[in-house]
Amino acid sequence: MKRTILMAAAASVAAGAVAAQDNVVNVYNWSDYIAEDTIEKFEAATGIKVVYDVFDSNEVLEAKMLTGNSGYDVVVPTSDFLQRQIAAGAYQPLDKSKLPNLANMDADLMHGAETYDPGNEYATIYMWGTTGIGFNYGAIAERLGEDYEVNSWSMIFEPDVISKLADCGVTMLDAPTEMLPAAMNYLGLDPRSTDTADLEAGAALLESVRPYIRYFHSSQYINDLANGDVCVTVGWSGDVFQALYRAEEAENGVEIGYVIPDEGALQWFDMMAIPVDAPHVDNAHTFINFIMDAQITADITNYVWYANGNAASLPMVDPEITGDPGIFPTEAASARLWGSKVYDARTDRTVTRLWTKVKTGQ
């Protein structure tokens, strides 16, 4: 969190400094989501100044996109949000003649992204990941026994199990479109179902374990997991790996793991797109093309521990990362991943309302 604030502060200072010049690109990306030297390298290679700003929820990005005149040239929404924002007319089609590095991309993954953006017309994959379980080895062994193997959603969704973990801190993402499908999937229902009865069943399961949840938040858990302030989190793959990495760096004795549970998990894509009213369209294409450079993408994956959609970059990615089934799932695990479903307005309201009920009991 501290780093996020510093980055945001640095970005706003930079925004003031470069306001007078025109050769800039305004990038709006997730917090803790880029290699430390990526921007430096881009500026050295192209002479274009980057104004880098961060967010930590799709909703905040969406509000800016739907308001318009955000001033951003490149933004990174998650696939299902991207689809709705395309429908609202928030993005402009990519000029693929300016993106020769598209050839580096993995055809299968880009095809997967077409579910949200037919023909990959508006966006290209930045990183992708899964929503699984991050945990503290020591705390789990202490409470569930040395032999307990974390491999199932039962750790989260069975009151008997999760109640034993409540004292060391269990957290969930504050993202109903990710938590409800996970609960529905555990019940044997279709995680992509929009049937109200299915959604309510998922919500009821979440409510049954609600008393053992410390908090619902989508970025706080990185630090808390690393510091040992919480011990189990339903979180995004790369974020949990960042917690793992931070704990290793701090040498605080906290050992962290991440699994894609055997029952399956949500797979999502974060996509680079150009807002329809972007002030620097050419620079935006230059930036997106630069990110798709094999070495640059490899650098980012090596730093943020998220899988990428760039086939050419994989040889340059740390084998520890490509070999980790939590980041690059095995084929068998991949088969059990599901994509997010875009809800219509009515289902959206049902889902949010159920989520409020889960969180507040109201």
Partner: protein, 312 residues
């Protein structure tokens, strides 16, 4: 022609303004009026406009108020968003919960702030000025950073728990973060200066002769305090309480950062409507309803003040 040319431009302007019924006084009043118009009334009308629209997937995500049809302009508005606030108990519960949290925060602020204000008002100069500076000093640091500092103090492995564990007062760390207690601590801490300053301004004017008279007539210090000091400081109590209560009702940052998921406050509900549901019209209706809710205590304050004016 010659007379017109001979008159100075200044005279022309002044007489022109006088013809329009404007004078110096009106000009002075115009500045705050324009300020209110631009920064309060116009945004309010924009929010009001959105609150009668319908949500849709577009930019911006709601239906336009004025629609250009074949036979000119027509207006499309709905009160459905307001009706919706009554259909789902969530909104009423959130309002009630906000009032509850704001009320108790105000009571705690008063209980803590009154002795502090009293002590400062009774202190001799220059100690008094120093104490006042200390009250205002936290404003020099960003409010957001101060709330973050409370996370560091209150969290499971935070400063407070480490201290209490070391002293042996507790054996297990207290879970304060992500509870309503943390929200109360945050609100009372943040708004305490707004309670102390009006109370101080009132108490410092308290005439010592009245206290002496009370003592001469046989009242003890406690009796004097409750029968003389407190009634005389009532305007300060009311002003301070309003300054804490009104912003606390709509508070978003403190419950979002310190509160738990079950801390239900209208500011958070509004956030959910706007960001998670993308339903700007209902979010606007929630905001307008909150405004109406806040106007009631302000009216009560004005009523109390005008009554006091009558009696004085």
């Amino acid at each position: 022609m010659t007379t017109l040319r001979s008159s100075s431009p200044w005279r022309l302007t002044a007489s022109g303004l006088a013809k329009l019924g404007l004078n110096g006084r009106a000009l002075v009043i115009a500045v705050p009026m324009i300020w209110l118009l631009v920064f309060f009334l116009i945004p309010f009308l924009v929010v009001l406009k959105i609150s009668v629209a319908e949500p849709m997937i577009a930019r911006p995500p709601y239906s336009p108020l004025f629609i250009e049809g074949q036979d000119g302009w027509s207006i499309k508005a709905t009160l459905g968003n307001y009706a919706y606030l009554f259909e789902d108990s969530l909104y009423i519960n959130a309002y009630l919960s906000s009032i509850k949290i704001a009320f108790f925060s105000t009571v705690f602020s008063l209980l803590i702030g009154y002795p502090m204000a009293y002590y400062i008002a009774r202190s001799p100069e220059p100690k008094r000025s120093l104490l006042l500076i200390l009250i205002v000093l936290p404003f020099w640091t960003s409010f957001l950073l101060r709330v973050y500092a409370w996370i560091g103090i209150l969290k499971g492995k935070g400063v407070l728990n480490a201290f209490l564990l070391k002293l042996g007062v507790i054996n297990e760390p207290l879970i304060i973060m992500q509870t309503d207690i943390a929200v109360y601590i945050g609100i009372v801490y943040t708004y305490l200066p707004f309670m102390i300053l009006p109370l101080y301004a009132n108490l410092v004017k308290l005439d010592d002769a009245l206290l002496e008279a009370s003592a001469d007539l046989g009242a003890g210090p406690i009796s004097t305090f409750f029968r003389i000091t407190i009634p005389l400081s009532l305007p300060g109590i009311v002003a301070g309480s309003m300054l804490v209560f009104i912003p606390a009702i709509g508070e978003f940052v403190i419950p979002a950062l310190l509160g738990g998921p079950d801390t239900l406050m209208i500011g958070k509900v509004l956030w959910t409507e706007f960001f998670s549901n993308r339903d700007w019209p209902v979010a606007s209706a929630v905001a307008i309803a909150m405004l109406v809710l806040l106007v009631i205590p302000i009216m009560l304050l004005r009523l109390a003040q005008s009554k006091q004016g009558d009696s004085a």
